[in-house]
Symmetry: C2
Subunit: 748 residues, 2 copies
Amino acid sequence: MKRYLQIDPWKIIEEGFHPGYNRVSESVFSTGNGKFGQRGNFEETFSGESLQGSYVAGVYYPDKTRVGWWKNGYPEYFAKVLNAPNWIGMQVWVNGEELDLAKIKEVHSFRRALDMQHGVFSREMEVSFQNGIRCRIETNRFCNLAETDSQLVSYKLTVVNSDALVVMVPFIDGKVLNSDSNYENRFWKQGVTDTRGDDLLLIATTKKTGFDVGIASNLEVVANNQRLLPKDQHSRKKFVSNRYSAKLTIGGTMELTRKNIIVSSLDVPRAQMEVHLRSRLSQLKPIPFAHLLEKHETAWRKKWEESDIVIEGDVEAQQGIRFNIFQLNCTYNGEDQRLNIGPKGFTGEKYGGSTYWDTEAYCLPFYQATADEHVAKNLLIYRYKHLQKAIENARMLGFKNGAALYPMVTMNGEECHNEWEITFEEIHRNGAIAYAIFDYIRYTGDSDYLASHGLEVLIGISRFWRQRVNWSEDKQQFVMLGVTGPNEFENNVNNNWYTNRLAVWCMKYTMQSVEWVKNIHPTDWKRIVANTGYKPEEALSWKEVVDKMYFPFSEKHNVFLQQDGFLDKELIPVAQLPESERPIVEHWSWDRILRSCYIKQADVLQGFYFFEDEFDEDTLRRHYDFYEPLTVHESSLSPCVHSILAAKLGDHRRAYEFYLRTARLDLDDYNNDTCDGLHITSMAGTWMSIVKGFAGMRVIDNHLSFKPFLPESWKSFSFHIRFRGEIMEIQVDKKGLTINGEPMAVSG
Amino acid sequence: MKRYLQIDPWKIIEEGFHPGYNRVSESVFSTGNGKFGQRGNFEETFSGESLQGSYVAGVYYPDKTRVGWWKNGYPEYFAKVLNAPNWIGMQVWVNGEELDLAKIKEVHSFRRALDMQHGVFSREMEVSFQNGIRCRIETNRFCNLAETDSQLVSYKLTVVNSDALVVMVPFIDGKVLNSDSNYENRFWKQGVTDTRGDDLLLIATTKKTGFDVGIASNLEVVANNQRLLPKDQHSRKKFVSNRYSAKLTIGGTMELTRKNIIVSSLDVPRAQMEVHLRSRLSQLKPIPFAHLLEKHETAWRKKWEESDIVIEGDVEAQQGIRFNIFQLNCTYNGEDQRLNIGPKGFTGEKYGGSTYWDTEAYCLPFYQATADEHVAKNLLIYRYKHLQKAIENARMLGFKNGAALYPMVTMNGEECHNEWEITFEEIHRNGAIAYAIFDYIRYTGDSDYLASHGLEVLIGISRFWRQRVNWSEDKQQFVMLGVTGPNEFENNVNNNWYTNRLAVWCMKYTMQSVEWVKNIHPTDWKRIVANTGYKPEEALSWKEVVDKMYFPFSEKHNVFLQQDGFLDKELIPVAQLPESERPIVEHWSWDRILRSCYIKQADVLQGFYFFEDEFDEDTLRRHYDFYEPLTVHESSLSPCVHSILAAKLGDHRRAYEFYLRTARLDLDDYNNDTCDGLHITSMAGTWMSIVKGFAGMRVIDNHLSFKPFLPESWKSFSFHIRFRGEIMEIQVDKKGLTINGEPMAVSG
């Protein structure tokens, strides 16, 4: 854990430069607007530890998968979120010496700050060069949330102690590498580079996938109150720059205002891209920076109105939850059905891909409750649009007749994880996608979604489950062999209870949905039958599985078992593991982890979270008491589910403890991996801990219901929530819960 | 299956050139002498399909392992048998046109032949160049078995239809690539290159491992009955060549005799290598090619006296078994305790590494019975020398107190497989290494080996098993979780019967051996206690496991189960699988294979093969009838065990059928993979099918015992066998079995 950032309710502040933590800071100071984003890199050269990262949504590269031995059914490629051309880069020279914080003589002051309320990243610093010149730098930048194809930078340099010749060379650089390239290849091809007056333009094309990303920058440089003209315009392979220089007298300033237009071929066809960039740039040019900033801030204000959580009495918690909400809103805005929520958003490259089951199981509730209905719906439609690919994916693995298996990791609907046997068998993801349909309809009341989109997906998924189980002559029941549950510390197990449970639930829900759509939306039903070739016998064969599915159970412990053979393990509580061996994923060999009883993240308990209405509190308590002590929570997705369940069981202390484990995960670099990027999808889990855990929010019979408690160290907490078109303010304090200021009779 | 090679009892002949099968032919025509070997490449340039391959025993490269996601305990590197500098290469030019069979105008005749009896590879061909010149080429070469640091080539060119200027440029080329390099790196560093008169010399050093391989060639070129002098000697980076040219008149010949000395730093230190090479070369120089050949042939004759199997009445079978015996003798000669038997020998690069459990389970019986005792003993000592590395390997995986886990794939005792989760968990290999000690002593009677070496290995292995099992509270027995048995179509299963059985056997055998050594060799026992820190309590704790080990068993079928949950699978016999889906490893996705019932190679039945004395014939039959129908035999190591068991059960037809599946595996390219190299270790299995299967040979109470049958299509078969110092001839014909011509009362 690192605690070098300042505590503040609305800001993240690094006071004094921490070069050893610079990659962590770059992750933390990431900004984005749902269409693109970037790490908190310096604009100018920095030769110290840094991961220069700018990312454009939906633009990926299918890197050749890296495996030991190829096996049939493995994905052809591992999709990488692509490090895009650097659109903020510049060199700064003072009397011939380049500004580079790794080489500077002295850093007198340094402050890097993220204003989450307004979505602005800024830096102020005063440094002395080796040549003795002392300068002050002030920068501001933002990924425009009001007009999501633009990004703005202001960069101001003041000479403090002497006259000096200052040179600024802003550029766009397409010679970028992905830090996680499997074979250290470059992913961008040369495209267009051009400079005209104060405008730079670069269009680069990805290898293989052929995405185009176009960036146009307008540069306005003022020194001594005079607009400078560019000199030495450079346009070479994948790189374009202008050069501005001026002699400053002591106290004089040189200020660069940079307006970037950033688009990809997802939105603008390649043939029109150059014209489009120039036209958008000329629209932007006359608008003052301050005016653009104002509109951007207004857009952020609106986001906060819908999604803020206010915590009184705990500034650390306040900062933590706002940081999570801020980053979730930077990552996904729900306006584009082709986009989804990458595990690192626009803040790093690890894990590649954009879409995991995290979206459905952890992120959907956040966007559902904090944004307009169409945002959550678009997350569902993303999967609907991939249905044919999921059917194709299942077909390649030997399934038939329209069975659909959604990928574990995807960009365009195709499976694209790096080889990991576990991932291969984590078919429970397919159930989470069905569950999300149910969850969305439960929350929004938009049952018609079943008829318009949902049921086709459900039918494909249920067909998969039906074919994936087999009849055990020995048990005289259906079994599901060779799976991995959410607990990725197991591999290739038989009858994972969660997966079996989810499969049965899917088939039941599909059967109900078939009946409902058939009766209520007969026209849609015709279309669905035509599209899917659905036959009534299918429901019968699903029912057979629903009725005769096997669920591993222990009479002795009176609990469902995570999988067959679970009780053969040595069941030693995590509390008895030496601290020096934690986390086990870092200290134990993989085979030892596999045969141990330790649970990475909620597995049986994930089922109790999803299907809570089907179990009474005693049953939940028994399972919670059996499994939680064996759980190491070595996934950032683990604590939130446990927090919600602990809250439900009235164990408020534990609920709060679990919440704390992810609340400031990245701000405090808990797992020593924030340098790789932020844990975006687990941020939604933290939000859930408060809303579903502490406030106990549920939807019951089309109404919001609450069962709140207030963590001891807090005075109160409140949040805005959208529910069926209405924005409400929920407040929980020592006296209880109010909705829009009105006390509410608490249910449950 | 390909059948383009001629049938002949002693020769492999390719009549007419088959360029499409050239990589297959190159594998088949491989030769070696236990110290080095090479594929049947052409000496001259060939721009068609080819894998140029020359390999020096024990010289490897630790290629960076390729994995999707790294997990603790994974090996750091994947050792590759190293493609060594080409020591036979030459260019041939006729009137300025290079000889290249891929570019030649016409091939009038072509014959490539391997004389297995004499260990000589030869080629005769007549070709016309594009320029109209017609030439005849005759070559002979051999890896000298009499003096195993030398290799000889004779290359004769006759101009048939015209006068012509003929140029020969023999070279040594160190710019070789491994075809299976993970990251396409070159593995050799520049060393010494030198030419002096008719001598070429090249020393190359491997990157990382720092092995040196030195090659010196003496060239004698005669044209028009005159010795030619070299011109244009070239010595550049990793390449050295001489150039010989002569004007030949019609019918004239030019003949190159090349004598190579090939050594590695395993035998000659780098500092002395150049001097050593020159000195050995000068010893070799005056000896005529024919004289060297004669001594080489004598050495092969001796090999055949010990190891030949003669089959009367089936030339195909005769050729097949001799090919297998020939290649086994090319691969390993048992004179160097640092060497072992690579899965592809010196014939290709696939699978890397040199040592798998194949050595102990499949190859040991062959070398035990066909060579002097020290040969088999050296295979055991190879593992003895790796004991500390095996202890270190176990320690890295979390085991303690001198527990030893031998690697699945190794060169120097360290684990070095490419990532494959299965391999990781195939700990049964550890048992095979213990079993080999037992098998060796049973065959040779050399019980003292236990005291001198074996027991220390057994103690390390038993300690591993003791720590690897755990007590199941649920079963009130010991269980072994998370393993893969020999059937690599399962992964991470619990209580693999074979592994549990083997572990218990190891502990029992170790306990007995402890008592025996303690009593018979008290001095050795002191040393062993000092070395291992053995404590008497250990035997007690082993006994606890021996007494309370769990073995999965089905009452209904009255068979031991391959693993927990096996009966949950759909048990559909292989015979009902569509032919179009076979082999399943090529047609089914990996996850489907994993959850299927199909068995890649003997697993439970491997236990019945190892521990046959512990089960009566009825029990064997029940297990054979249960498991064999579910076995797809998609490992070349599968049929031999089944052949031996079928023979034992009196099912002679099936025993013969299984034998046929590997008898000509490479000669007929059954699996379409001979192009990658030969299946060396499975060749020993074929030998076992005949000796242990058809002849029913066993060692019972220090005596050889037989239970023979004669395949219907054979007139007779006979073989030489070494047993405790004596070479015997065993013959089986319709009348029965004779030993050295004397009929033997058949046991059993």
